[in-house]
Structure formats: C-alpha cells, structure tokens
C-alpha cells in the first residue's frame, strides 16, 4: 500500500527511463514499420535487396519525394497546397514545350519561374486574402489545369535531347541523378528545417501563428515564401518527370499529389501544423516506395495494394495517437 502511494510522486529513475525509452520507441515506430517491410521483402523477393533495385527506387520516387518535402514544410507551417498536382503537370509541359524550342536551360528556367509564380499567387491569395488554404488552392488548381489544357490544346510535347534528359536518365554509379537530387534535397531540407531560423519559424508559425507574429516573426512573408517553395517543388518534380520521360503532357490526374500527401502522413507529420520532420517524410517515402516495389515483385492485385496502403495509413495514425497519449503520461512522472 505504502509503496503504491509513493510511486506516482517519487518515480524511480528506472521507471522514468523506461517511459523515455517507450516514448522514443513509439516516436520512431514508423522506422520499425519500414524495417519490417524491408525484411519481409528481402525474404519474399530475392531481387529486392540488390543495389540496382534500390538505386532505381530513388529515381522512381524522386518527383513524389520532392513534392512531399515541400508539402511537409507547408503542413508544418499550418498551410496546405492542393494545387501542387496541377502545377506539377503544368510545369512538366512547360519544361518539355520550351525545351523543344529553346534548349534545356530556358526550359528548366521557365518551368521554375512558372512554379514560383503559381506559388506566389497561392501565397498571396491565402495569406493576404486570408482564405482557407484547402479551398483557395482547390480553386487555383482548377484554373491551372484549365489554362494548361487550353494553351497546349491537350497535346503532349516530346523532347529528345541529351542535356534535357541528363537529369532523368543519367546515373552516378548506379544511382540516377534524379535520385541523387532527391537524396540531396532530403538532407538539405532536413537541415534547413531543424537547424535554421527559417525552419524553426515554420514550426513556430504552425504551432501558434498569432504568438509568432507577436514574437516578431514575419509570418506572412515566411508563409508566402513557403508557398513559393511549394510551387518551386512542383516545378522541380515536373522537370524531373519531363526529363525522365522526355515528354510532358497536361493531365487531370492528381494521384501524384495524393502519393506525396500519403507519404507525409505515413511519416507522422500532423495535418494540424506545428509538428513533423523531414526524416519522417523520408521514412514515409521509403515505406511507400518499398511497398510499391514489393507489390510489383510479388505481383499482388491492385485491390490488395489499395487495402494494404489504407491499413498502413490508419496504422501510422494509430501509432501517432498512442504516442501522444503515452507522452502525456510520461511527462508527469
């Protein structure tokens, strides 16, 4: 009886460290999930754990990954950009279209310029107009799609050009340049987010916008910049895709955006803002990439793929939830 009374008020250091360990474990449960998936694949599919396969994966998920990085920034800062899918397609077309006429540098430049302008417009509408970001970017998404189709008349642009396709088809040893770019961006974006004033400002703004403003942060400027980063990322993803395919075409298919969001969510970045990390998005990306690769190698039906992806999304959320509850408990001990 006496000991039980004492326990809550005087926790032993052993108990405290056990709680810490559990919290840490739950916090890194996505990593465990990834390890599990990788192990399962290694056993089931002999060709999974080959250098060539893993190297390919980086290039295959480069476009999705770049979008996911920017989405992570924006979501942490409390924003959202539904127009990334449309901007991605539009920028791919711009790159391919300009590239056929004026060469690679102008092509990439034009796509990036378009992406940044779209991002700027989104940022201005959302921040200065004070409009809900989901809805505002749904609106711009319609507009971008319409404009893209109208000016290309829905025709694809083909571009066969070594320099244009260098990024998409060249390789550093076995790793595609696009994959190298993705890995580099993950590292840089991770460092910027966790170690710079700009990065920490995103957490602060997403966590409490008004308090951040009153602490002297330039909230509007920071968020508009983040929307521009989002547009820029859509452009870079578009360039990667155009360069990998040697073609660009408008499409109404925004599944690439859903892939990117699924990646962010599986990683554990919260849609309510203020919480998340690039390493999480990296893990989420790896999970989705391995799953897709494994599904193909094991030749699972696309229905089963859907079901498993859905269950993993829910599992990631459940873990996150468990973590939050447990952390509260650990905290007071």
């Amino acid at each position: 009886m006496t000991t039980e009374r004492l326990a809550p008020t005087q926790p032993t250091s052993g108990k405290r460290s056990a709680v810490r360990a559990t919290t840490w474990l739950l916090d890194h449960a996505v990593v465990a999930l990834l390890v599990l998936i990788v192990l399962a694949l290694a056993v089931l599919s002999p060709s999974f754990f080959t250098g060539a396969n893993l190297a390919n994966l980086t290039g295959q998920w480069a476009a999705v990954g770049v979008l996911a990085i920017a989405a992570t920034y924006l979501i942490i800062a409390g924003g959202f950009d539904l127009s990334m899918g449309a901007t991605f397609a539009f920028c791919a077309v711009v790159a391919a279209g300009v590239g056929t006429q004026y060469g690679t540098i102008p092509a990439y430049g034009a796509a990036i310029a378009v992406g940044c302008v779209v991002g700027l417009v989104n940022g201005l509408i959302v921040r200065l107009g004070g409009i809900n970001p989901f809805v505002a970017t749904l609106g711009t998404s319609f507009i971008i799609t319409g404009i893209g189709f109208a000016i290309t008349n829905a025709q694809p642009f083909y571009i066969y050009d070594g320099s244009f396709q260098w990024l998409g088809s060249g390789r550093l040893w076995t790793i595609p340049y696009s994959g190298v770019l993705l890995l580099a961006l993950l590292v840089i974006a991770g460092l910027v987010l966790s170690k710079t004033v700009f990065g920490r400002s995103l957490y602060a703004i997403g966590g409490n916008e008004e308090a951040s403003r009153l602490a002297g942060l330039r909230v509007d400027r920071t968020l508009i910049t983040t929307y521009m980063i989002s547009g820029l990322a859509a452009a870079v993803a578009g360039i990667i895709s155009a360069s990998q395919l040697g073609a660009g075409q408008m499409t109404t298919d925004i599944s690439i955006l859903f892939d990117a969001l699924t990646v962010v969510i599986i990683g554990g970045t919260s849609l309510s803002g203020g919480v998340g990390a690039i390493w999480r998005t990296g893990i989420g990306l790896a999970i989705l990439a391995c799953l897709g690769n494994g599904f193909t190698q094991l030749n699972l039906s696309s229905h089963l793929q859907d079901i498993i992806t859905g269950l993993i999304v829910l599992a990631a959320l459940g873990l996150d939830r468990l973590l939050t509850t447990y952390r509260k408990r650990g905290m007071e001990v």
Binding site: P8, T9, V192, K195, T196, V197, F198, G199, R200, S201, Y203, A204, G207, N208, E210, A211, S212, R213, L214, A215, G216, L217, R218, G274, V275, T325, K328, R329, G330, M331, E332, V333
Partner: protein
C-alpha cells in the same frame, strides 16, 4: 456574505472523490458538503485540483472513485444528468459558440422544443426575463461572434443561472470580468444563495473570497486541507494553508529604483481597434500602470505601441527623438519596444515547442533566415536568464504546454530579458496565477525597471496594480482620463474615474 451561515440541509455532497489523469493525481479522496444557501469559497494554488473537482461535480469528468449527490440523491454520470439535477457551472475558460445567436448560446445543450422543432418563442421570452434579472440588454438574435468579450461572459452567466436551481459553481469567473459586471455577479450570487441555491466560488482573489463566502475550502496538491468559516480566517491564513508555508508580501520598493530620463513619449495615438487620442510618457526605471474596465482599450493601447495593430494616427518619441511609428512587431522590437501580450497560451507561447525554442523565438527577428539554430548552444546561453526568472531548471526541452501558468509566464519573461528591452509592455502578466508566482513575477518586473527599462503594465486586479506601479493612468473608452501617483491613490479613486459617464 450576509454574515449569517444559516445554511439549510446539505444540497451538494461530494464524498471520497479521487481522479487520476495519466501520470498525475489531480484529486485524492476529496469530500465536501455544501448546504443550501451557503456560499462556499474554493481556493488553492495553480494545479491544486480546483477545476478538476468542479468538472467532477458538473459531470464533465468522471471520477475514478467517489460519488456526487444532490439533495441526498446520487447522480448518474454525464453533464446532462448533473444539469438536470440543478447543477450549473461558469467555467474558467469562457465558451460561446460564435455562429449561434445569443439566445441559443444561453440554452446551449438544453434547447426547448415544441414538436420536432426548437421553440424559439419560449426561448426568447425566457432570455428577456434573464436579461431583466441581470439588468443587461443583449440582442437575443445577435450572433455570439459579434458580441463583446463582456457580453459573452454575461451569456455564460445567463446560461448558468438559467439552470442553477440547486448548485451554482463559478470557476474564476472574475478573472475576465470588469468591475461593473463583477459587482452585478456578486449581487446575483447573493440573491441566489438567499433563494437557497448552494454556491461554490473559485478565485485567486483571496479578498473577494473572504468577502463574499460563508465558508472556505482549501485544496493543496489534490487533497483537502481544511474547510473553515470565512469570518474566522485572514488572507494570510489562507495563503499559509494553500502553500503550506508563510509568504510575506513583497514590500513596495519605489525608493530603491532611480527614475531616469523620459524614454517613451506617445502623443495622439488613435486606432480603429479602440485607442482614442492617447498621450503617454514613461521614464527609465518607471513602472506605469493602465487601469480601466474590460473593453476600455488597455490592451489595444499596448498592442498599438508594440506594432501589433495598425494605428490611424499617433507620434512616438524615444529618448526625446521622434521616430516613425512601428508598423510591425518587428519594427517595434528593433526600437527596443517589447510586448508580453495577454493570454499567454493564445498570444504568447507556441505550446508544442520546448522552453528553449520559445525563448529563442524572441531573437529570431534579429537573425538571418538561414542562420544556424543550435539547441545546445541556445540552452547554454539561456541558462542564466532562466535561472534568474526562477524557472524550474531541467524541464527546458519539454513542450511548454505542460508547464503551469506561472512557469509559462516566466518563460515569456525570460524571452523578454534575453533581449535587453528599452520599453516593456506587459498585459495581464499575473492573470490566473497563484499568489506565490504573482509575487515572483512582480519582483522580476521591478528588477527590469531598476535596470533602466521603461515599463507599462496592465493588471485588472487594482490592488495588485497599485502595489506594482509608480504611476497609474486610467483608461476609459480608449482615452486616458486621469493619472495618479500610486502612493496617493485608492481603488475607489480609480474606479470612480473608470466608471464616470462622459459629460
């Protein structure tokens, strides 16, 4: 109140209540009994478990063990059951639903119906009745979003007294109430208790508690310390019971500070949000208080000076030199003007971030976007200032939302101190904070002043304000209507001026 404790039969009885939140024991075996017509005070330090006890009584939290009964009847769980038994609560954090009308807000959770539909006629009639009872006039069809803060609080009070047939509980209702409404609320309490309603009143304002309560219950660390007649206790007795130790009130200390040259001069400040041709002067080492009713525009004056709100007109001089009016918080900060806004959770802290980050945030505007932020370096550089404000060291990396109100305020002060401010603007730095922490924070403010800062502070508790300041300006409808030296002023002088009708 009436002095007489002729309370009738036991109206509310809580026996053996314990409540554990994950990892924290909020209530341990608490039993209280409140008689019909009795006004019971409930006091304790922050986190003592007062609000938790109230939530158990109202049915909003389910106790791990123990029972709540009203007039001898055990209550079924759930807010609705407790409400139907005649228990009503005015909560610490006011809650109205912005899109619903004033009238619907009063009947929230208990809308009268006629057939399948809400009975608006009946609702409106009852609403007008309540308005008459409280001598206020609120448009019943106005959306709550368009009501002033004071009116919203009134809506909550109306909601509570509408259904309080047996027990009325008030959880720090006065912390957001202006004097006028406060007085009216006390009248209502008197009337209801006269009509046999048991009242439980929670406040950090111990004088109020001793003033209006018949008996007082003290909680400490989730346990019951004592229940005594109010008439048999003094303020110091209560403090001792709450803290388990004796605290001397800090002595007034104008003398050990030298007041220097004029640092800040504001002329003709007018804002759309409420400030009206305000003139203010503050000298180095001086603490100037702003007194006024809720909604008088005190916060708006501070926010305008800090660059947080847009101004329509106004001139500002620093150390005798006229400068352009700061158009953002950032600009104000670069002039050395720093604000610690009211409501620290909403306007001060990023709850999910650590203490380290919350303190560091204050310096972000002086740094380049891609400047390196290192946690360990920040922690080292903040060590001294956190220790200075009396922060419980070792918790720097936990999210600040887990800290007590007092410690949260200390984090904000640490952020301020790290910036070596020239002008300091403090809005309600002691709101909702217990006696001990309040004393510490006011000491820190004095410390800031003695290092040469010019301080303007808003505190609603007039006694505290007089105690803390050298000079007090009274604000009414956004204007400064009078000024007093604090060693020659009484609360009633201030109130008189604050209430005076414009000629």
């Amino acid at each position: 109140m009436s002095g007489a404790t002729e309370s009738g039969a036991t109206a509310l009885e809580v026996s053996g209540c314990s409540k554990t939140f994950p990892g924290v024991r909020a209530l341990t075996d608490v039993s209280i009994a409140v008689g019909a017509g009795e006004v019971r005070g409930l006091v304790g330090q922050n986190g003592a478990g007062k609000s938790t006890l109230i939530k158990v009584i109202s049915g909003a939290e389910h106790a791990d063990s123990g029972t709540v009964s009203v007039n001898g009847q055990l209550l079924a769980p759930g807010v609705a059951a407790h409400r139907d038994a005649g228990i009503a609560v005015i909560y610490q954090d006011p809650g109205v639903v912005p899109a619903l009308s004033a009238c619907e807000n009063v009947f929230l959770g208990d809308l009268p119906t006629r057939g399948p539909f809400v009975d608006r006629g009946h609702m409106r009639a009852r609403f007008e009745e309540l308005c008459r009872e409280l001598q206020v006039s609120i448009d019943p069809s106005a959306r709550a979003a368009s009501l002033s803060l004071g009116d919203r609080q009134l809506i909550e009070i109306m909601r509570a007294i509408r259904s309080a047939s047996t027990v009325l509980i008030l959880d720090e209702p006065t912390s957001a109430l202006p004097e006028e409404e406060r007085v009216r609320l006390f009248e209502v309490i008197t009337r209801l208790s006269g009509a046999g309603v048991a009242v439980v009143f929670i406040s950090h304002d111990l004088d109020d508690v001793l003033d209006i309560c018949d008996t007082v219950t003290v909680l400490r660390d989730g346990g019951l310390v004592c229940t005594k007649a109010a008439s048999s206790m003094t303020r110091d007795d209560l403090v001792t019971a709450m803290t388990g130790q004796t605290i001397e009130s800090a002595p007034r200390s104008v003398t050990d500070r030298s007041i220097g040259a004029e640092v800040l001069q504001i002329t003709d400040l007018t804002t759309r949000s409420g400030a009206d041709q305000v003139d203010l002067r503050v000298r180095a080492g001086e603490i100037v208080g702003l007194a006024g009713l809720l909604g008088s525009g005190r916060s708006e004056i501070l926010r305008a000076i800090a660059g947080a709100d847009r101004v329509q007109s106004g001139r500002i001089s620093l150390l005798g030199e006229q400068v352009a009016w700061p158009r953002s918080v950032r600009e104000a900060k670069s002039l050395g003007i720093h604000l610690v806004a009211e409501d620290r959770r909403r306007f001060g802290l990023v709850g999910g971030e650590s203490t380290t980050m919350n303190v560091a945030l204050g310096g972000f505007d002086r740094r380049r976007w891609f400047g390196h932020v290192s946690r360990s370096a920040e922690m080292r550089s903040q060590h001294e200032v956190l220790q200075h404000v009396g922060y419980p060291m070792g918790r720097e990396s936990q999210p600040v939302r887990n800290l007590s109100g007092g410690n949260q305020q200390k984090v904000l002060l640490a952020r301020l101190l790290a910036l070596r401010p020239r002008v300091v603007l403090l809005d309600e730095p002691t709101a909702g904070i217990d006696v001990q922490a309040t004393a510490q924070i006011l000491d820190l403010v004095r410390g800031l002043a003695s290092e040469g800062a010019a301080v303007i502070v808003v505190i609603s508790d007039l006694q505290e304000l007089i105690h803390a300041c050298d000079r007090i300006n009274v604000v009414r409808s956004g204007r400064i209507v009078g000024q007093f030296a604090s060693d020659a002023v009484t609360e009633s002088d201030i109130l008189h001026l604050a209430f005076a009708q414009p000629a």
